[in-house]
């Protein structure tokens, strides 16, 4: 007698995967159509989430880019874009708080830009202090230092058409005052539809109607090495009146939350993303069920011939993960292409490792869920049916 191994998990798994893949590839057109369907559904969901991540990044880009530890704002500031004037001497007050290493100001305000053809455009003016903290991370042309010159601004290449300026030296008007383009930045997007225009605080107050000469929007500060940020924060809160003190992460989160939640765009995008996944689960569920139904007689034969229910379930699971895995891979490739193509546009699709891994795992879980009806159909099978043809 030969040695009779009991079918352990590994053996039944390899039998199951052989049967699963051969059954799938037997009907090639159905196989490919399903993968295309799942790929599109996954892409839809990924694109929505990519849009969301792109927006979140856009929302918090300048805050994170500024590279400071602490933001001191007027009380109840909802988001970076809606800065409220505070007196400029808050900078000195903050700077004198123990634990603070460095502090400067920043001004964020709204103004009307006039296109050379006369069309008015809302812009968001960002006024930078001496060290230019918060300046664009990348320049296409020019040096950010140029904004220290009077009437000089930096605009982003994404909005050159909109603003009607294309090169260094081009001129336009803000609030009826002449401005000269001194530099062109790259990748500074906006979430509010109003492009960012960078200049010095000194220039900025002259363009922003709500600000007086001695006012700014934010005090930005760095703490001393080894200082406890929470302690420094509460010290500022105690010693400087009528302000709110936030860490960079807190301010970024508040800005993002404002746009995503208060305005409802976040919810819309998330719902659309979930709809994408639901479409995927329906396609998957239907196909798997159709395949299982087509092969019920074969499953009954296998049961009669001594296959355990678990092995048959493993076949269906393998199929769902194969279809899902391939669909997700194709969908993810589509997303990568779309993300690359959109990288230089005002509305980029972006992602992070955590988000990608999370979405893929979540989708695979959906795939497993989609096999429920098929597994139930197999569970109900009675192998005695094999004798009745």
């Amino acid at each position: 007698m030969p040695t009779r191994l009991t079918t352990g998990f590994a053996a039944s798994q390899s039998i199951a995967s052989v049967i699963a893949t051969k059954m799938l590839s037997h009907n090639r057109s159905r196989f490919f159509m399903t993968i295309v369907g799942i790929a599109i559904a996954f892409f839809l969901a990924a694109a929505q989430i990519g849009l969301l991540v792109g927006w979140i990044n856009t929302n918090s880009a300048i805050i994170n880019n500024t590279g400071v530890d602490i933001w001191v704002t007027a009380e109840q500031t909802a988001t970076f874009d809606y800065g409220t004037p505070i007196p400029r001497h808050r900078v000195q007050q903050v700077a004198s708080v123990p634990g603070i290493n460095w502090a400067e100001g920043m001004l964020v305000g709204w103004a009307t830009w006039r296109h050379p053809n006369g069309k008015p455009i809302n812009v968001e003016i960002v006024g930078l202090d001496k060290s230019l903290a918060g300046k664009p991370a990348q320049m296409l042309a020019g040096d950010p230092e140029i904004i220290k010159q009077p009437e000089t601004v930096i605009v982003d290449e994404l909005f050159r058409d909109l603003l009607g300026v294309w090169e260094i030296g081009d001129e336009a008007e803000i609030q009826g005052k002449r401005v000269i383009v001194g530099g062109i930045s790259q990748g500074v997007r906006t979430f509010t539809a109003a492009p960012f225009v960078f200049t010095s605080i000194k220039n900025a107050v002259t363009y922003t109607p709500f600000y007086r000469e001695d006012e700014i929007s934010y005090v930005i500060a760095r703490i001393e090495a080894g200082a406890d940020i929470q302690a420094v924060k509460s010290r500022i809160q105690r010693e400087v009146s009528n302000v709110e003190v936030l860490t960079t992460a807190e301010f970024a989160e508040r800005s993002v939350k404002y746009w995503m939640l208060e305005t409802g765009v976040g919810i819309t995008v998330i719902i659309t993303g979930i709809l994408g996944l639901l479409v995927g689960i329906v396609i998957m569920s239907q196909t798997l069920f159709a395949i299982t139904q087509d092969h019920l007689a074969n499953y009954a034969t296998l049961l009669a011939l001594g296959f355990h229910q678990n092995t048959l379930r493993l076949i269906v699971l393998t199929q769902s993960l194969t279809l899902g895995g391939l669909g997700i891979a194709v969908g993810a490739a589509l997303f990568a292409v779309a993300a690359k193509a959109s990288a230089r546009t005002p509305i980029p699709l972006e992602t992070t490792t955590a988000v990608s891994v999370g979405l893929i795992l979540f989708s695979l879980l959906f795939c497993i869920g989609a096999s429920w009806f098929s597994i139930r159909a197999i569970f109900k099978l009675d192998p005695v049916s094999v004798f009745h043809g």
Partner: protein, 245 residues
Amino acid sequence: MKPITKPEPVLVCRGICKSYGSGDIVERVLKRVDLEFSRGQASVLIGPSGSGKTTLLSILGCLLAPTEGELVIGNGMVDFTNKSSLTEVRRQKLGFIFQHAQLLPFMTIQDNLAIIGRNAGMTAADVDQRLDNLLDRLQLKPMRHKLPSQLSGGQRQRVAILRALLHRPSIVLADEPTAALDWNTGKTVVELLLEQARLEQAVLVVVTHDTRMLPLFDRILSIADGILTEQYQTAALENTFYTHS
């Protein structure tokens, strides 16, 4: 000490009854069937349509629970309440042949057979070796890498025989394995089945409607009205059937 003349039975039915339905419309299909089969013994099961042949075969095959009675396979009593243990018995001890071969249409003959051997716990090497041997014996070597749809009905049934014997079961059950074949092909298939089952020393039970097959078997079992009776010896029958049919 075991008597040499009477070998241990491999398959024993004691007082098997089977009824379908409940309440007022109970149909008693099997009424106390007692049977013993020993190694290498080939039996044929006959009876009118609806007499319970498939029902009995399903019970012997651990696919259907009897209403009463017990079934002993090897030295163990079959527990009909435990589905997983029934599967275990089928996996290791039983081989089946159906009216249609019921091969998986999306796999080659080789793969159709290999998955059964592997599922029964045979090693890949053992499966290969055994397949070589059996494909040869059943003259199926050239069919090895074909799909079932590329085979004739008779060839498919030969594959089904191979599949039933591959994992060296002690019992092989066949329900009308030749019903879908013409007489000559059917006869060849049954002869092959008998020859191979005897070679493997397996208990063989075949249901058939074709009385011309009867002389090929060691025992003839007949069911009518729920009662199973064992018929005359083969030699006597041979004459009976050839003169009457």
